[in-house]
């Protein structure tokens, strides 16, 4: 059973739900898993089955030799330890590279999780090290290709979304804390998955590195360092440390050492390709421009990370968008400049207040980096000063459809992206530039339309009110031509509406039973959606009023 499970995991075989459960299950409807017969046959033909058998035999022999204390036999057996490779399975499961990229989400999340495991127990040290290496290599690629798009700080971990060769790849990394390993988790299953995922990720990394003309096992290039930055990196590379240690140092302090060497090559590579595509489509060109702008979000900015902020994710993100980053030398190798460096523009801190502030740089909380990346522009810094109550951190993965609840912060953000002032952004017409992208644009339009409707309604109301006022005044003094016609017009409209709704109700009565059921289900779903949105809106309103009152009270208290 264990072998079958492993095979299923490695080969990606999943159970099937039979069409007639009773027929298949000898008349019982008990829950059972069913595999297709051809899938099982497919598994049987797998050459790796023999390898598994060999390994089993090897383990048995080894145990026997140990038991008999035949050390020469043990040596001999160990020399001939059977190994197996999963290359062909990777190739078979993902016949094209794009297929592999599409399925990369789980592989990355798993590798990042395993790379944070302690080096003892649970799984092999080699696996952990391999995961760490592969994950770091992948991060280096993302930095080099500048393909990070969205980041999100959730309570579970940090989500990243990158666009690798046109495929969105999302992964989550846990916050850097020790795990308390749960007991109800089968680590063998996870290890089998990881085995496959590491193989997959290795090949993907290789291919990705080569697509950017980078050496694959990434090397710290001393010359490039000299050319670009004769700083810590060089010193490090010159150190007479063994290659392995150097490599591990690279993975630990990734961003500093490797990425600058790659950047030049990347841009050389990418420009002609982009030029070609831009000529083809005008709209696409605009999109590309926005994308380019997004990629260079932090270009020219110099960051310094205080020791209390998570170094790895922030360094990764900042480098992905072209910023320069450093940290305390004692925190990790690879620091390039000091706190006292006057060229630092932003210092990321996460403490209530900073004692000695240096003039000429912003002291910001880490959320600013994340929000700026998601907003595709450098947000105003005032909201993110240390000790300030932060604005809510919104998920960049949500695209609100029509009728969904949109939190007011998001509206503000969208307005800002359109280039409006956050203050009066809501009451503008839709004549603004349409340089925004994709769905967001649609969203905006819808919202604006809604606003327009609201406005028109309001206008009508105002008119009516005016008329009434005029009426009352007219009775007293002026011979005004009372425009009662409009009133009647509305009445007629209402009548018509009523009639239409009644017609609809009657037609619904004539529906067939099945269709009526479906219709009611759909309508129920819609209503529930609306209800949820209303609930959220009401909650927000209540919260806002509560906050306002609190403010007022505190003001009064201050005055008194």
């Amino acid at each position: 059973a264990a072998v079958t499970r492993r095979l299923c995991i490695l080969k990606g075989i999943y159970p099937h739900e039979p069409k007639h459960k009773k027929k298949v299950n000898k008349g019982s409807t008990a829950a059972r898993t069913f595999y297709l017969l051809k899938d099982i046959k497919f598994l049987l033909h797998e050459p790796i089955v023999n390898k598994f058998r060999e390994y089993k035999v090897f383990v048995r022999k080894l145990r026997k030799a140990y038991g008999k204390s035949e050390w020469s036999t043990v040596d001999r057996l160990k020399n001939n330890k059977p190994t197996y490779k999963l290359d062909h399975i990777v190739k078979e499961r993902y016949p094209t590279f794009v297929d592999a990229l599409r399925d990369l989400d789980d592989a990355l999340s798993m590798c990042f999780l395993f790379s944070t495991f302690p080096r003892t127990g649970k799984c092999h040290v080699q696996t952990i090290q391999l995961c760490r290496r592969l994950a770091m290599e992948f991060l280096n690629y993302i930095i080099a290709s500048r393909s990070l798009r969205k980041v999100f700080l959730s309570i579970k971990g940090i989500y990243y979304q990158a666009e690798v060769l046109g495929q969105p790849v999302t992964w989550i990394t846990p916050y850097a804390f020790a795990h308390d390993h749960p007991t109800d988790v089968d680590y063998r299953v996870m290890a089998t998955f990881t085995e496959f995922y590491t193989t997959l990720l290795g090949f993907v990394n290789f291919r990705l590195y080569h697509s950017l003309n980078l050496l694959y096992p990434p090397k710290i290039d001393g010359q490039a360092d000299v050319e670009l930055k004769p700083a810590e990196g060089k010193e490090y590379a010159m150190d007479s440390e063994s290659y392995l240690e150097k490599l591990s140092a690279l993975s630990a302090s990734l961003a500093r050492v490797v990425a600058p060497t790659h950047e030049d090559e990347v841009e050389m590579d990418e420009f002609p390709v982009e030029g070609e595509t831009a000529e083809q489509m005008d709209a696409r060109k605009k999109e590309q421009e926005a994308l380019e702008k997004h990629k260079k979000l932090f270009e020219g900015l110099r960051f310094f990370l205080n020791r209390e902020v998570p170094r790895e994710p922030l360094a990764f993100i900042i480098r992905c968008f072209g910023g320069q980053v450093s940290w305390d030398k004692s925190l990790c190798i690879g620091a390039t400049y000091d706190v006292s460096n006057p060229s630092i523009t932003h210092q990321i801190v996460d403490r209530p207040r900073v004692e000695q502030q240096v003039v000429g740089r912003y002291y910001l909380q880490p959320q600013w980096v994340f929000d700026s990346v998601n907003a595709k522009l450098c947000l105003p810094v005032a909201d993110y000063f240390p000790g300030v109550l932060l604005p809510p951190h919104l998920s960049p993965f949500v695209t609100e459809q029509e009728g969904d609840y949109v939190p007011p912060e998001k509206l503000k953000l969208l307005a800002m992206q359109r280039g409006e002032n956050p203050g009066d952004g809501r009451l503008r017409d839709e004549e603004s530039e349409e340089e925004d992208e994709e769905e967001e644009d649609d969203n905006d339009k819808e919202e604006e339309e809604e606003e327009e409707e609201d406005e028109s309604e309001k206008e009508e109301e105002m008119k009516l009110k005016k008329m009434e006022e005029q009426k009352t005044q007219g009775n007293k003094a002026l011979p005004v031509k009372v425009t009662a016609g409009k009133l009647r017009l509305e009445d007629r409209q209402r009548l018509e509406q009523e009639q239409q709704s009644e017609e609809k109700r009657l037609a619904i009565m004539m529906m067939k039973k099945r269709e009526k059921y479906l219709y009611k289900k759909i309508m129920f779903g819609k209503k529930r959606k609306v209800r949820e949105a209303n609930k959220l809106a009401a909650k927000r309103k209540a919260h806002d009023t509560a906050v306002k009152e609190e403010k007022k009270k505190s003001k009064k208290a201050r005055r008194a």
Partner: protein, 630 residues
């Protein structure tokens, strides 16, 4: 080479040797002496009468206290000499007891590597050192055999191929097999929403009640698998304790969940609504409530209208029958009948002015004396012209002429049944009428002939509880509705022609299209079945418009309209067009929901009735009113 141990400082001469031998000294613990001397006298222990305080004082005062030990053999205190203390120190340090012993003397190489001229022994070499070893041969041959048999494998050559290479260097389109096309890729994990943020907008946080509800839900039923939480800063965010769990569950999903392509119904709900002709185009039909006929004090069970359409009769639970003028809603006449009126029916023949009324066990034939005097005079004459036949015939009921008192009220004939009568209905010609008795025997349905004052029981056998009966308007057919079936009898041939399955649980009422080819049945399970008699014995359409039990249904005589009244207090008027073309199915469109009756005792509309000429509908309700919609 050990130096002689320095002798222990000899005890003073007068000291008594211990004579007890090598025994555990505890044996003498409780005695004042230790052993015996040569004379056999006890050797006493030295007196120890020091208490704690003395001990302490001695410890403080005696400078040699630290080197004083007690000799267990004699019980005496002994002061250690300097040499003895030194020895103790050395032993404690793990050194040799002897001061003069040097553990690091230079090693003398007795058996050197240098070959000496003279052998140590002069023994000649063994023969076995010149011939090949048998044991080795055996071992080698064993190894050879093992290699030959493949038990021992030569060391594998090292695999030189790098672990990672360009796997997709030659992407072969042929390698995309049917497998890959059939493969259902695992759905990606759901992307996080605003509520998962470490600092979400305040509306996404759960309130106390929501949190409680969340905790009480089953983990599988929860919409969110976490409780949204707000942290002031990134520093405060803790590790997520279920991270490994979630990854593991994802792994399980990946290899244990059956995958299936599901077609999502992506239907616009508006498309599901059938396209029907607009009610506006199907006018005329009643739309608004025009008149309310008030007067009854209890629920009005039944209605009937005169063929001219001028008079309306209603029977109620307050034991009266009232006659109304339709246009003015004026009560022309009130006839107390002394019992609950179950059914009234106006004679459809315009030349006869006669109303049949069911009161308990009898059917009254009443001449309301309304309208044309000639007409109702003629009716009276017609009734009086009856001549009793010579021979008395056995009848299932008794025909009784009304008494004078009754006659003055308008009652002309009383037909007394054996059981309570629940429905009466006229034949189109106005001579015959049928009554339904609530009974279980074959005597449930009786057909009466007014002119001959003669009744007969058409059925020999009971086929179930008869709910209502109906005459065909043109042909000699007779419809009998039992709980679930409607039977159609041919009166001429005296046989069953058809049996209609209503698909309802309990039929309440029935009406026939004036054309005679379509009937509708209302049922207590709030369904209305439309039968096309030419088409099938099953309903052409089953309409579930009402929310509660249907009490009555009615067809209009001229207009393509039918109406149904229900316990939910509404009357639904439908357009029911029947085409002469047999190929075209009837068109049924609900056109109006009429409301007005107040629900009393969970009863709404009890009877509906169309005006014979106008597109008007009457309804009588449990609230004691009759309403007219025009």
């Amino acid at each position: 080479p050990y130096p002689a141990l320095t002798p222990l400082p000899s005890a003073p001469l007068q000291d008594i040797r211990n004579t007890v031998g090598n025994i555990p000294m505890e044996w003498y613990q409780d005695f004042p002496h230790i052993g015996y001397n040569l004379e056999g006298k006890k050797i006493y222990k030295p007196i120890r009468n020091k208490d704690e305080l003395d001990m302490f004082l001695e410890k403080m005062e005696n400078p040699d206290y630290w080197r004083t030990v007690q000799d267990k053999m004699t019980g005496a205190d002994i002061k250690l000499t300097d040499e003895q203390v030194d020895l103790v120190h050395r032993l404690q340090k793990g050194q040799f007891g002897d001061v003069h012993f040097n553990p690091y003397e230079p090693a003398v190489d007795f058996f050197t590597h240098e070959v000496m001229i003279h052998p140590v022994t002069n023994r000649p070499a063994d023969k076995r050192s010149f011939i090949p070893s048998l044991i080795e041969k055996e071992k080698v041959s064993k190894l050879v055999h093992a290699i030959k048999m493949g038990w021992i494998k030569p060391r594998k050559p090292k695999d030189d191929t790098p672990t990672y290479y360009d796997l997709w260097a030659h992407e072969d389109p042929n390698s995309i097999l049917g497998r890959h096309k059939m493969h259902v890729p695992a759905p990606k994990m759901k992307l996080p929403g605003h509520e998962e943020s470490y600092n979400p907008p305040p509306e996404y946080l759960l309130s106390e009640e929501e949190k409680l509800a969340w905790e009480q839900q089953e983990p599988a039923e929860r919409k969110l698998n976490f409780v949204p939480q707000q942290y002031q800063c990134l520093r405060a965010v803790p590790a997520y304790s279920r991270f490994i769990h979630e990854r593991f569950e994802r792994c399980l999903d990946l290899y244990l969940c059956p995958r299936q392509r599901k077609m999502r119904v992506n239907v616009d709900p508006e498309d599901l609504i059938p396209k029907l002709p607009k009610p506006r185009d199907l006018q005329p039909f009643p739309t608004t409530q025009a008149l309310v006929y008030c007067g009854h004090t209890s629920l009005v069970r039944c209605l009937s209208i005169s063929p001219s359409g001028q008079w309306l009769v209603s029977g109620s639970d307050d034991c009266t029958v009232r006659f109304w003028e339709v246009c003015t809603a004026r009560c022309m006449k009130t006839l107390p009948v002394g019992g609950v009126v179950k059914s009234v029916a106006w004679n459809p023949n315009p030349t006869i002015c006669l109303v049949a009324i069911c009161v308990e066990q009898s059917v009254l034939l009443v001449n309301p004396c309304l309208g044309d005097k000639l007409l109702y005079g003629a009716t009276d004459q017609l009734l009086e012209s009856y001549v009793a036949p010579e021979e008395e015939r056995v009848q299932p009921v008794q025909w009784v002429t009304a008494t004078m008192e009754e006659h003055s009220k308008g009652v002309r004939l009383v037909i007394q049944h054996s059981k309570a009568v629940k429905q009466v209905t006229w034949h189109g010609k106005g001579d015959y009428f049928a009554s339904v008795v609530s009974d279980n025997s074959n005597m449930q349905v009786l057909i009466h002939q007014t002119s001959k004052r003669w009744s007969q029981n058409p059925f020999r056998k009971s086929k179930g509880l008869v709910q209502c009966v109906l005459f065909h308007p043109i042909r000699p057919y007779f419809f009998v509705a039992t709980q679930r079936y409607v039977r159609v009898y041919n009166l001429l041939k005296q046989e069953l022609t058809k049996k209609l399955m209503t698909n309802c649980k309990w039929v309440s009422s029935m009406a026939i299209h004036p054309g005679g080819d379509n009937i509708i049945c209302g049922s207590y399970d709030s369904k209305l079945a439309w039968f096309d008699l030419d088409l099938s014995t099953r309903p052409y359409q089953l309409l579930r418009h009402h929310k509660k039990a249907l009490r009555s249904v009615a067809f209009h005589k001229h207009y393509p309209l039918f109406a149904s009244g229900s316990d939910d207090g509404t009357v639904i008027v439908c357009h029911g067009m029947v085409y002469n073309d047999l190929l075209q199915n009837p068109l049924l469109v609900p056109v109006k929901v009429l409301k007005g009756h107040v629900l009393t005792l969970d009863l709404g509309v009890l009877d509906v009735l169309f005006h014979p000429t106008q597109p008007w509908v009457f309804s009588s309700g449990a609230d004691g009113t009759v309403r007219l919609y025009t």
